[in-house]
């Protein structure tokens, strides 16, 4: 996360600020390149990106499509893949599209809005740190994942990847718009706020599921994912209540007294009660004073295909999806 922020700041100092463009302002045939890092986080903190990977990916895009891209886009606004595209756009001298493919973060590659919209995963372009460029023409999403993973490993478990390259016309309804602006607004809402948590909750329009203390975190790494549970016991007005979170890299389901209070694809975030800073699942620790916020996902995720891709059943929970507005309605705490 910090490495991404440092890279973004440095790139803007060197190459200038990054213009943010809206999808509505792009011509129909404008080419948009979604970019994301792929690989092991531990490797990313040690073998940091070079400055040439985005240029090499874009040169290959130009060779294949016969025209230069108009803008780049973050595949995933949550986490380091939300910040790093600012550096990539600056290095390329291209604008950043005010949109992403999730409107949040998801742990699996097919959990992306372009897939929900039915766009094919038939082209993947990757560049590694030494200058190799690999173009893959997979027959479906499964092969896309399998082959990209193999290239990533050969490249030292760290590479830059473009997939679901699309025109502005294709992007309408297939990407989640306004998410970069939204991320900036959320960040600014807590900056210098007298009560950061209240300011954040207001900004997000989020329900506060509980305010309390983290009393138990259980984690295990399986299949490349960190899975587990976190238990929060209420304090203050919430004394006597207990909330359990189910985790797989992200917070998937919030349960209280056997009742589901919120679930994917709606957003569930654990924040520090003092600073309102988000605490990622790998940083959850006993004793932290936290609030759990939940708010609605983008409507795209609530379509049948959206729920099939990233709803509770996609994560192995035999639950009927209930929007967070309904599940917390009767006792929404402000």
């Amino acid at each position: 996360m910090r490495t991404g922020a440092l890279a973004a700041r440095r790139a803007m100092e060197t190459y200038g600020e990054v213009p943010l463009v809206r999808l509505a302002d792009l011509p129909e045939d404008a080419l948009v390149v979604p970019l994301s890092g792929i690989g092991a986080p531990t490797v990313g903190h040690e073998m940091i990106y070079g400055e040439d990977e985005p240029r090499r990916v874009v040169e290959e895009v130009e060779r294949i499509f016969g025209r230069p891209p108009t803008a780049i886009m973050s595949s995933e606004i949550g986490g380091s893949n939300g910040v790093a595209p600012v550096a990539w756009a600056a290095q390329l001298g291209l604008p950043l599209l005010d949109a992403d493919g999730m409107g949040r973060a998801f742990p699996e590659v097919q959990m992306i809005s372009m897939h929900v919209a039915g766009l094919p995963a038939d082209l993947v372009i990757m560049s590694d740190i030494v200058g190799n460029v690999v173009t893959i023409r997979p027959i479906d999403g499964l092969w896309s994942e399998r082959l990209a993973r193999a290239v990533c490993v050969a490249a030292g478990s760290h590479a830059l990847m473009a997939d679901y390259i699309l025109t502005a016309a294709q992007a309408r309804g297939a990407v989640i718009e306004g998410t970069v602006t939204r991320a900036l607004e959320v960040g600014r809402s807590t900056e210098g706020a007298a009560e950061p948590l209240a300011a954040l909750q207001r900004e997000l329009g989020a329900a506060r599921l509980i305010t309390g203390k983290l009393t138990d975190v259980e984690r295990r790494t399986t299949g490349g994912f960190v899975r587990g549970t976190a238990t929060i016991e209420g304090t203050g007005d919430d004394r006597g209540r207990t909330l359990r979170l189910e985790l797989q890299n992200e917070n998937l389901v919030a349960i209280e007294d056997g009742e589901v209070r919120a679930m994917v694809p709606d957003l569930i975030t654990v924040v520090d009660t003092e600073t309102a800073g988000a605490i990622q699942t790998e940083s959850l620790r006993y004793g932290q004073r936290v609030a759990v916020l939940a708010w609605p996902c983008d409507p795209l995720w609530r379509t049948p295909k959206g729920l099939e891709t990233a709803g509770p059943r996609a994560f192995g929970y035999d639950l009927e999806y209930v929007p967070v507005e309904e599940s917390v309605k009767e006792e929404s705490r402000g």
């Binding site: 940091i48 790494t221 004793g287």
Partner: protein, 565 residues
């Protein structure tokens, strides 16, 4: 008593420099406290002189028992261990720092974030002689990213004026050949000292590089510390061997410290924890070091400090040092008490004049504790004094109203005014303040205990008596003798250690590879001054990694042992 059985521990703290003498059975036989001086060295000498004088004085806790002349008893001191803030101060004040040529091995990787990005501009100005990213470094699986290019390194070094070189190779904790080759080249051709990142930090390139650059900038300061310590010993006719304390609660020889001065940063909290372990005889505990302004809580695991998982900032620079996991809360003997609240402001070192119990005009946590019947070990009459002060005030200004907390603003000559309230009200305020302080301490203990309630709490520091007799979440509260100098005691008993942090295959070759890493950690402990016969592996941590071709684990191993006789 055999010859050569005494050790001196010195700890330079923010307020005081403490010194102790320990005998062969780790008993404190002399102790002294002197104010820390701005230059650090004068305070160090004063504390050393004071403890040596006490040691030689008949009737004092040390020399008296030994009944011999100063020269004779001093001759029995074999080691002097110093925990000092020289390096921290140099970085915070940007003083005496060397100019460093910053070399990173990894191009074309890592160029998106060049060295020293994110440093405070003034520190970077003082420290950096220039930065370069040249070919070299390794992949996570051990392959070379690129071959070393000696000419590129020479071109860079020919163009800078530096006092030292810092070299950081990508994945050097797992493969240090490139860094070693650069070190050889620089020493041979440029005669400059070189900090190698694999000796200094763990995985996480930027944080490790930052620590390596700071280390290279501290060579001059390391020289000063070594010089100050060795000359102080020589002037006093001591032939004792000097050691320096480091951030994990273990020691280095001065030769080792001269190469790794950055490791001395953060030794204070580590020494305090280790000292608490010895003085209390407990190996697993929560430790609260209660001072005048704040209380530092840490956790002892097997006699060593539990380390923090979070990155550590030094002078505005992020590093990946493994420091003790410390929770500091604004609660100390000088914390100002006002209606319904304690602190966070404190009268600090002025407590001896300002607290009610000492005849001052400010109600402090010390007053609240004394009113509640909590007293430091061995003192008497405090409670009576406080009662007298309260009674006097009641008579002196019966009509004036105002809360105790306004005392410092209203305080007149001699502190006779200010607490112009009825003493019943003050008593009530003090009583409530003590309850608030206890709740703060309880909350902090709970945060550090991670839910385990079976361990004791060891209270050290000058304010140890402020804590209550019973704290939910701990089995009991221990207030050991000599608690006020626990940090100096910790320095005196510290072990020497070595650590390795690397990535290795998780498959069949794992057990062999782990053995090799253990051997390396032991070798590093011996290099730091440990007795090869007494070194043990004290910490072994494996973290599985995802998204790699072969299953792999990140391994952290630490070895420690007593110093060579």
């Amino acid at each position: 008593m055999a010859e050569g059985d005494l050790r001196v521990g010195i700890d330079v703290g923010g307020t005081n420099t403490d010194a102790v003498v320990l005998d062969a059975s780790d008993r404190v036989i002399a102790k002294a406290k002197r104010p820390t001086t701005p230059d650090v060295t004068a305070g160090l000498r004063a504390a050393l002189d004071a403890v040596l004088t006490e040691l030689a004085q008949p009737g004092a806790s040390g020399g008296g028992a030994y009944g011999m002349e100063g020269g004779v008893v001093w001759g029995r001191i074999t080691r002097v261990m110093l925990g000092t803030t020289h390096a921290t101060n140099a970085i915070l004040e940007r003083r005496n720092l060397g100019r460093v040529a910053v070399l990173r091995l990894g191009a074309p990787a890592t160029t998106a974030v060049p060295p020293l990005v994110g440093w405070p501009a003034d520190l970077r100005e003082v420290v950096s002689a220039g930065e370069a990213i040249v070919p070299g470094g390794h992949y996570v699986d051990g392959r070379e990213i690129g071959l070393l290019d000696p000419d590129a390194i020479r071109r860079f070094l020919d163009g800078v004026r530096a006092d030292a070189v810092a070299v950081t190779g990508v994945f050097s904790p797992a493969g240090d050949e490139h860094e070693r080759a650069v070190e050889e080249l620089v020493r041979r051709e440029y005669g400059l000292p070189v900090s190698m990142s694999h000796e200094i930090g763990s995985l996480g390139l930027l944080e490790r590089e930052n620590a390596t650059v700071l280390n290279a900038a501290l060579y001059t300061v390391a020289g000063h510390v070594t010089q100050a310590l060795t000359s102080a010993l020589a002037e006093r006719g001591l032939s004792a061997r000097p050691y320096l304390a480091q951030n994990d609660g273990t020691l280095m020889t001065v030769e080792h410290a001269a190469r790794l001065p950055v490791s001395t940063i953060g030794s204070g909290p580590a020494n305090s924890l280790r000292g608490a372990a010895l003085l209390s005889g407990v190996q697993d505990a929560i430790v609260a070091d209660v001072g005048g302004t704040s209380t530092d809580l840490g956790v002892l695991v097997g006699g060593f400090p539990r380390e923090s998982a979070a990155a550590v900032e030094i002078g505005g620079v992020l590093t990946n040092f493994r420091m003790p996991d410390i929770l500091a809360i604004a609660l100390g003997g000088g914390s100002v008490v006002r209606d319904g609240a304690v602190g966070p402001d404190s009268v600090g070192y002025r407590i001896a004049e300002e607290a009610l119990v000492f005849g001052g005009g400010t109600a402090t946590l010390t007053d609240a504790a004394v009113a509640g019947g909590r007293l430091p070990r061995g003192v008497s009459g405090w409670r009576e004094r406080l009662e007298a002060v309260l009674a006097e005030r009641l008579e002196a200004v019966p009509a004036e109203r105002g809360s105790a907390g306004q005392g410092s603003a209203e305080r007149g000559p001699g502190g006779r005014r200010g607490v112009g309230d009825m003493s019943e009200d003050i008593r009530d305020t003090l009583q409530r303040a003590l309850a608030v302080a206890d709740a703060l301490a309880l909350d902090a203990v709970d945060r550090m205990s991670l839910g385990r309630a079976d361990r004791p709490l060891v209270a050290v520091g000058g304010g140890a008596f402020l804590l209550p007799e019973r704290i939910p979440g701990v089995s009991r509260v221990i207030r050991p003798e000599h608690a006020a100098v626990a940090n100096a005691v910790g320095a005196a008993i510290a072990l020497a250690s070595g650590r390795v942090d690397t990535i290795m295959p998780a498959g069949e070759s794992r057990s062999k590879a782990i053995e090799r890493v253990k051997e390396e950690a032991v070798a590093r402990a011996v290099a730091a001054g440990a007795d090869p016969a007494g070194v043990q592996i004290v910490d072994l941590l494996e973290v599985p990694l995802s998204y790699l071709s072969e299953p792999a684990v990140r391994v952290h191993v630490k070895a420690a042992g007593p110093l060579t006789r």
